[in-house]
């Protein structure tokens, strides 16, 4: 009986290690190829690297305009997330709190909008941005990202606001606090947990986006990491070590973000799932 229990435990641990191996092994390729010289890659691609060729990273940076792309990704992500949080938390507040038909119908309009595929608005949007001279600018790109993520962001925050008790706001109102005062001084601070969660989810979404970026960022100087990766990899399939050095470097910021804010990502996904 005791023996059986031990066996079961051992099998469980083996299963877990197998899961780990399956999910992590692709990362071995990225790291291993990135640190090898070209000669080592031709000799045996999957062999464990003996020395780390740091110069691969320098060369990848030189060839790919890496820092410019990193900068562009950072700026667009920060602007998109900050604007989204401000405008969507305000919208979510009135949608959650006011009982009128108009605000309620907004909720369902946004729910429907989350289903719209980007391809169905891309062409008119392209003409629209060109008409207002925002095509091929970081500002235009941010606006598209903000618009496209606004529905999802508002929905998640709305769900949270509904769970905040009303008493505090009522008290503030009775004390003569204006609607803006009530929102910024009372409600917004209470939203902190959902704000952190939504911030990180929107940041992931903007940082990793490819299908919007590839259409709206076509000038060399404004390309973000996703687009740079795409073209750089296509051009350097002969120099795999540089291609993967670039891949590895672009992974680092997002993995740092993930490991630092894991808790918020997890709670965000669970909150989103409950809303469905």
């Amino acid at each position: 009986m005791v023996g059986e229990k031990v066996w079961e435990k051992v099998i469980r641990v083996i299963e877990k290690l197998a899961v780990l191996l399956i999910f992590l092994s692709p990362f071995y390729i990225a790291v291993c190829y990135a640190v090898k010289s070209r000669k080592e890659l031709t000799a045996g691609r999957l062999d464990f690297p003996k020395v780390i060729h740091w110069e691969n990273f320098a060369e990848a940076i030189r060839r790919s305009n890496f820092f410019q792309a990193l900068m562009n990704s950072t700026i667009t992500t920060v602007v998109t997330v900050v604007v989204l949080l401000i405008i969507c938390s305000m919208a979510a507040y009135v949608i959650a709190r006011r009982k009128s038909k108009f605000f309620n119908s907004m909720y369902f309009a946004m729910l429907g909008a989350t289903l719209i595929p980007f391809q169905s608005i891309i062409s008119p949007l392209y003409s629209e941005l060109r008409a207002i001279h925002l095509m091929n600018t970081l500002a235009g790109y941010c606006i598209v990202q903000i618009a496209f993520q606004s529905a999802f962001t508002t929905l998640i925050i709305t769900g949270f606001v509904k769970s905040i008790p009303l008493e505090l706001e009522e008290a503030a109102m009775i004390d003569g606090c204006s609607q803006y005062g009530t929102f910024w001084k009372i409600v917004f601070p209470l939203m902190k947990p959902i704000i952190s969660t939504v911030a990180i989810l929107d940041a992931l979404c903007t940082w990793n986006d490819f299908q919007v970026s590839v259409v709206f960022l076509q000038k060399e100087s404004i390309k973000n990491l996703a687009v740079t990766q795409y073209y750089f990899f296509g051009k350097n399939t002969a120099d795999l070590n540089y291609a993967f050095a670039m891949i590895l470097m672009s992974m680092i910021p997002i993995l740092i973000l993930y490991f630092s804010f894991q808790r918020y990502i997890v709670s965000g996904i669970t909150a989103g799932a409950v809303k469905g």
């Binding site: 899961v19 390729i29 009135v94």
Partner: protein, 288 residues
């Protein structure tokens, strides 16, 4: 007008200013282009020139005789169904394995979810070499991305690898919400593990299953990045998806009117499929 009414109107006006910024951006850059796309789909616009002619529903009729469209819908469907089913099965299996919180489980969960954080472009590039160097080079198996038949399955698998962690997180949270005494009672009355799973776990998890299915269906039907990066739709058109085909029509083939018509049909199909699936699954939720 008395004072009370005035105050009420003022309140409503201020309320509207809360909604205005988000609503303005949303309408200007999502709703308006979407609506504008509909008349555009009734023209022969090439996407560049200033002129476009009204052609009625010709673009829509032409779709029926376009073999590429059927192919693209088939590929998109295979991808959506494959990723939906397998990510959920793997995600649930791993969630069951890792549901208790201890050190090894937490680390494993962190690692399983990690691929999801990378862009789909990076995931695809890494897997291109997993297939060519590990699967073919090391294990001597054929590379799925090079095969007409298997390419779309190979691409689906990249997505399954990346998204299983997402499912797992939702299922772990749902599993931890099931009261332990349910299982204790079942144990005492002699229910087997399998019976416990079917009679307790699955019904309690059903809302999570429903939301996962809807989320994955949405993602799967809209797939664009994976085939773009992994195969560019190839070999031939073996892994071309609807989103890619629309993009090609709009920007490469200079058939913007036709591409827009396809986009309208695509959007309607996504709405219909997801609402029907949601309705059917939610009804089942009540029965369970």
């Amino acid at each position: 007008m008395n004072l009370k009414q005035k105050a009420k109107i003022k309140r409503t006006l201020i309320d509207s200013t809360f909604l205005f910024p988000a609503l303005a951006v949303f309408i200007a850059f999502v709703v308006a282009p979407f609506i504008w796309g509909i008349p555009l789909s009734l023209t022969d616009w090439d996407g560049l020139s200033a002129t476009k002619n009204y052609v009625g529903f010709k673009n829509y009729f032409n779709m029926f005789s376009d073999a590429h469209i059927l192919n693209a819908f088939k590929n998109t469907g295979v991808f959506a169904v494959m990723t939906l089913i397998l990510s959920n099965i793997f995600g649930l299996a791993i969630a069951l394995l890792l549901q208790r919180s201890n050190k090894l489980n937490n680390i494993t969960r962190t690692m399983v979810f990690m691929p999801y954080c990378l862009s789909m472009i990076l995931q695809s590039y890494i897997w291109k070499y997993m297939y060519s160097d590990v699967l073919t080079g090391l294990l001597q198996l054929p590379n799925p991305l090079g095969s007409q038949f298997w390419a779309i399955f190979g691409i689906s698998f990249i997505c399954i690898w990346a998204d299983t962690g997402y499912c797992m997180i939702i299922y772990v949270a749902a599993l931890q919400g099931i009261p332990r005494d349910y299982y204790e009672v079942a144990e005492i009355s002699g229910a087997s593990r399998w019976q416990q799973f079917c009679k307790i776990t699955l019904p309690m998890l059903w809302p999570a299953v429903v939301s996962n299915v809807i989320i994955y269906l949405g993602w799967g039907l809209k797939v664009y990045d994976y085939p773009m990066a992994a195969t560019s739709g190839g070999p031939g058109r073996a892994s071309e998806t609807v989103a890619m085909l629309i993009y090609k029509n709009l920007f490469s083939y200079h058939k913007a009117g036709y591409g827009q018509a396809l986009a309208v049909v695509y959007t309607i199909l996504i709405f219909v499929i997801i609402s029907v699936v949601a309705k059917v699954l939610r009804r089942r939720e009540v029965e369970l």
